[in-house]
């Protein structure tokens, strides 16, 4: 089927709800309205208000009660309506969700999923375009993943729900309406949730991206091909844990790495990835690892976001700099 990312997520959630009676969804406006992005459209009508729950307007409450449900054997999938509204729930996620397993001496964890539409490029007002993934990837006990296309969205949401540990699931809202082929009848996911994927093989440099920037990097790689530069693009998919093997193997082949993300550069995913690459591939590197990221600014007014967000030109500019070494 040719599905948008929102429809693919919807199909994945429907399949998870159908497969396991312990799965339940909660969040603001997710029931009757089907979510502000319509990701949960029709699910309350199909599975009932006990399994697709409209929550009071309180993010800390949504996540905190999900912890209790998870402790009773449920598998809650909660929606935070927009990236910038996750912070009221930050305490619950960082201080509780992430460490229940550790606090119980490894006896039990809280298998819940926190879905967060994230990222910019949609002309939104303040607090609706943020990329807060590094805060969560910085927190031991959490897994952090993000999909870049409908097929991954369909499988990754189901895999996240099946995981026995908490997963922060970032959905790139600027890619919500892009379509892709999804075989919803296939029995199993094509790959592990925590595996990165080489989206486009190449030999001259590796572009490492995730979520909304994967498409940007693929477009940059296609443009570079015309100039005789053969770029490899890696879609991380999982930000915590990172699939070091795939990243390092790629960089060993190409000798050059450029990490691309929308989030602020300082202490972002790029910093961690660059550190791992230089530690493991020091002698194979032909150039320093470069980063193309959002600037060290709060997300700016939407009329300036095109300048703020990494785009094809900024990626190719970094490729030029890398190849100049």
């Amino acid at each position: 089927m040719n599905l948008t990312m929102t429809k693919a997520l919807n199909a994945g959630l429907r399949r998870a709800l159908g497969a396991d009676p312990k799965v339940l969804l909660a969040g603001e406006d997710i029931g009757k309205l089907g979510g502000v992005f319509r990701v949960t459209e029709g699910l309350q009508a199909e599975f009932g208000p006990d399994r697709v729950v409209d929550s009071p307007l309180a993010e800390a409450g949504i996540v905190g009660t999900a912890v209790g449900l998870a402790m009773r054997g449920y598998r809650p999938v909660v929606e935070i309506q927009f990236d910038g509204f996750v912070y009221p729930a930050f305490d619950q996620i960082v201080s509780q969700v992430s460490r229940i397993r550790f606090r119980s001496g490894g006896q039990f964890g809280v298998p819940l999923v926190v879905r967060i539409p994230y990222g910019g490029g949609i002309g939104a007002i303040e607090h609706h375009s943020e990329s807060p993934e590094a805060y969560f990837a910085h927190t031991p006990g959490l897994k952090v993943v993000t999909c870049s296309n409908p097929l991954d969205a369909y499988w990754m949401i189901q895999q996240a729900i099946a995981d026995d540990d908490p997963v922060i699931f970032f959905e790139p809202k600027r890619r919500y309406h892009e379509k892709g082929e999804v075989d919803t009848d296939a029995a199993d996911a094509p790959m592990s949730l925590y595996q990165a994927r080489v989206v486009k093989p190449g030999t001259d440099a590796t572009l490492i991206a995730y979520g909304p920037m994967v498409r940007t990097c693929v477009e940059a790689a296609i443009a570079a091909d015309k100039e005789g530069r053969n770029l490899e693009v890696v879609d991380l998919r999982s930000l915590s844990p990172l699939d070091d093997a795939t990243i390092l193997a790629s960089v060993r082949r190409t000798g050059r790495a450029i990490v691309v993300h929308e989030a602020v550069g300082t202490l972002g995913m790029g910093a961690e990835i660059a550190a791992r690459i230089q530690a493991e591939c020091f002698f194979e590197l032909q150039a320093p690892v470069l980063r193309v990221t959002g600037y060290d600014l709060p997300y700016p007014p939407s009329r300036t976001e095109d300048g703020y967000l990494p785009d094809l030109d900024r990626v190719l500019d970094a490729v030029d700099r890398s190849l100049a070494y």
């Binding site: 309205l33 409209d54 009221p88 007002i125 600037y295 009329r303 703020y308």
Partner: protein, 367 residues
């Protein structure tokens, strides 16, 4: 009303047919000329709102949260305040902004994406629109605590006193921040009027999901008075808010005012209310329109005539025209300005990013 935890249900001073109503406790202190001034405010605020909605439909704004239906709640409460009161809005307080003297074109800049909340016409006592639900209620309590320390509360001369009025919706009352704000304000007897516009919906979620008791009665549990007022009755809103402000300014502590109203429009221009509410319900509330009842009253009282209404209509069309022109003329923001708005003293890293950004942009310029 001397008891701290009194609750007063549904104050109305002008019914939906435009007839004055007696209330045992509250009375409207103004004249018919004052009421006419409120009517003018409401008509103009509604026109600002409808024009902004139209501008979003034409693609000139990214988003607009319509205020339609909440004019009386906003105009009545804002007109009850005066300096040195602090006004702390949420994000739908276009009518309050109007009363505070803010140029509506400034409001548009935020929703057009040409500025964050940089509004040159903003007076210091009207604070930034707040988009994180309920967060501003704690800030209001802090401001009120400051006013206590600044000697603006409980003075013998009532004109020397001030209070903070904070706006939030029914949905916000579920947030931890709002409940903490209630606790802090009560603990310190801080001069705060918690002005909740219960417009019945938090996007799609009806009030019953947020509260199983009328919101104004929650105040009793926190130890301060709560009053529900007909939020579509500008006279009652102004009278109740004036009382609440006097209570707070005098040092008697916070008050919760629940303005019982209805969001006649969508949550924002991205929302489709037909998915979650019935047309019959909207029609019921349309009959309670905050503007029509005042018009009826003033016409019947002979305080205004058709010529007066025509005058205000002409004024509102001129205002709309000004908004249309002013919106597209809003200066385009420059990303390079952003780096110098993050800290009082811009750190070297940010200066370097700014310089690099400018050099990078310049590399595209064709000579």
């Amino acid at each position: 009303m001397t008891e701290a935890a009194d609750s007063i249900d549904f104050v109305q001073l002008l019914d939906q047919a435009g007839r004055r109503v007696e209330h045992p406790t509250f009375a409207y202190a103004g004249t018919d000329a004052d009421i006419a001034a409120r009517l003018r405010d409401m008509i103009l605020a509604r026109r600002i709102d409808s024009e902004a909605t139209a501008l979003q439909r034409k693609g000139e704004l990214g988003l607009w949260p319509p205020m339609l239906g909440q004019e009386a709640a906003q105009i009545g409460s804002a007109r009850a305040s005066r300096m040195p009161d602090e006004l702390i809005p949420s994000y739908r307080e276009h009518g309050v902004a109007w009363c505070a003297g803010i140029d509506p074109i400034d409001l548009l800049s935020t929703f057009r994406g040409t500025s964050m909340t940089y509004w040159p016409s903003r007076p210091k006592n009207f604070h930034l629109y707040s988009f994180v639900i309920g967060s501003q209620t704690l800030h209001a309590v802090g401001m009120a605590m400051g006013m206590q320390r600044d000697g603006l509360v409980g003075n013998e001369d009532p004109d020397a006193n001030g209070a903070a009025v904070v706006y939030f919706g029914d949905g916000a009352t579920s947030q931890g921040d709002v409940n903490e704000a209630f606790i802090f304000a009560a603990s310190y007897a801080a001069p705060v009027v918690f002005f909740c516009q219960n417009n019945q919906y938090a996007i799609s979620e009806p009030i019953a999901l947020q509260s199983r008791i009328p919101l104004y009665r929650r105040a009793a549990g926190f130890g301060f008075p709560g009053v529900r007022v007909d939020g579509n009755d500008v006279l009652a809103v102004e009278a109740v808010t004036a009382w609440a402000l006097d209570h707070a300014r005098a040092g008697k502590g916070p008050v919760l005012v629940e303005a019982y109203t209805y969001r006649m429009g969508a949550h924002t221009t991205s929302d489709d209310p037909t998915k979650y509410r019935r047309a019959e319900e909207e029609a019921e509330w349309r009959a309670k329109d905050p503007i029509e009842r005042v018009k009826t009253y003033l016409l019947n009282a002979g305080a205004i005539d058709q010529a007066w209404l025509d005058g205000v209509a002409a004024e509102s069309e001129a205002l709309a025209e000004r908004l249309r022109a002013g919106c597209v003329e809003l200066p385009e923001p420059k990303l390079e300005d952003s780096w110098r708005q993050v800290y009082a003293n811009t750190p070297d890293l940010l200066e370097k990013q700014r310089t690099d950004y400018l050099a990078y942009e310049a590399s595209f310029e064709v000579n």
